[in-house]
Symmetry: none
Subunit: 212 residues, 2 copies
């Protein structure tokens, strides 16, 4: 089954070369190419793409706005952004709008085809420099709440889960089919690993650090 691709790109030479590239590859079909996103919903309806190649800078409706519009109506369509500059704000906005991938325009044609394929399969291809910016944004957000990695065993994680539910030792023993002393034993170890010494502290830490 070939992958149907629609192109939104205001630069005509680039748009045409993309459409030729896609149409010339057996696994792909170019079902539409458009110079702007003014009639984006109509265009999508007529071309029924699996993947959209979207230029970020277009006159009229920007690529980012177009992503929001498409994702609202057709959440299953994957969108691959293309841009000349790896501008932080635009990357961030695109991600929030629901774009799946982010390529720089200097990306060689063969990689573009790869990326479209990956996108169709649910991946999110992005050039390493773009990915680095995404990670930076991520790390900034978690900088306030630095999360230490805590390695709990399977059983411990299970017990902790019950603790968060509010279960007593007795109840945990019942659900896990083990004795209450074993539950205590696990909980002692959990407390050590979490550096706490009561149920409530453990619960608080577990939730905040998303250990459950």
């Amino acid at each position: 089954m070939e992958i149907k691709v629609a192109i939104f790109e205001d630069n005509k030479p680039l748009r045409d070369s993309l459409s030729v590239l896609i149409a010339g590859s057996p696994a792909f079909a170019c079902t539409g190419s458009f110079a702007n996103a003014r009639k984006v919903l109509k265009d999508i309806e007529s071309s029924e793409p699996d993947v959209v190649l979207m230029d970020i800078d277009m006159p009229g409706i920007s690529g980012i706005e177009a992503v929001q519009i498409i994702k609202q109506k057709f959440p299953h369509i994957q969108i691959l952004m293309q841009t000349v500059f790896d501008d932080d704000d635009k990357i961030f906005a695109s991600i929030c709008a629901g774009a799946s991938g982010y390529l720089l325009k200097k990306t060689p044609p063969s990689k573009i085809l790869d990326a479209i394929k990956e996108t169709a399969e649910g991946g999110a291809p992005m050039t390493p420099s773009v990915a680095a910016k995404v990670l930076q944004m991520f790390q900034k957000q978690s900088a306030q709440a630095p999360v230490e990695f805590i390695d709990l065993s399977a059983r411990e994680r299970e017990v902790l889960k019950q603790l968060v539910t509010g279960d007593s030792y007795k109840m945990i023993a019942a659900v896990c089919y083990i004795s209450i002393d074993t539950v205590k034993s696990h909980i002692k170890n959990i407390y050590q690993k979490l550096h706490v010494n009561s149920k409530s502290e453990a619960v608080a830490k577990a939730i905040r650090q998303k250990l459950v």
Copy 2:
């Protein structure tokens, strides 16, 4: 100038093949390869790498902990994670710890070399499937569910706050300059309003509903 690479990987065959791969490429040098991260700081000091290839699952100190340690002492060193499974939590933890890239172990050798090069240049190479998970985590942070309104008095809110901190009744009494029986009284009322009957349940509900 060649890129100096250190390897942390508990699987010996894989470790050796990686080191051969790197040593055999003119632009790279393998300055160290280690089976675990127990002496990670010493190992880094002796091998002085530009880029570290880090297995995420290792006995003793996990790869994620190792990243934290390295990044703390040597923030300029770039770290490329390697793992068999694209597990959400581990990816998230790695990113927060400061890893620069994230490769699945099935990545072909040539791509590994590309990725090391990208990493050294400040990029963050990752396989599309990993990138997709990162984006999902990003997009998730925007969606929040509305909650039932719970009307706590000022004092009750204060006491609940202490509960979430992990304080005992006695400690709360001390902080609030009230008797322990008064604390109990407030907590009884809080339990009624939250429809719970234990500290841990109250803490869980308080955090999840952002009552604190």
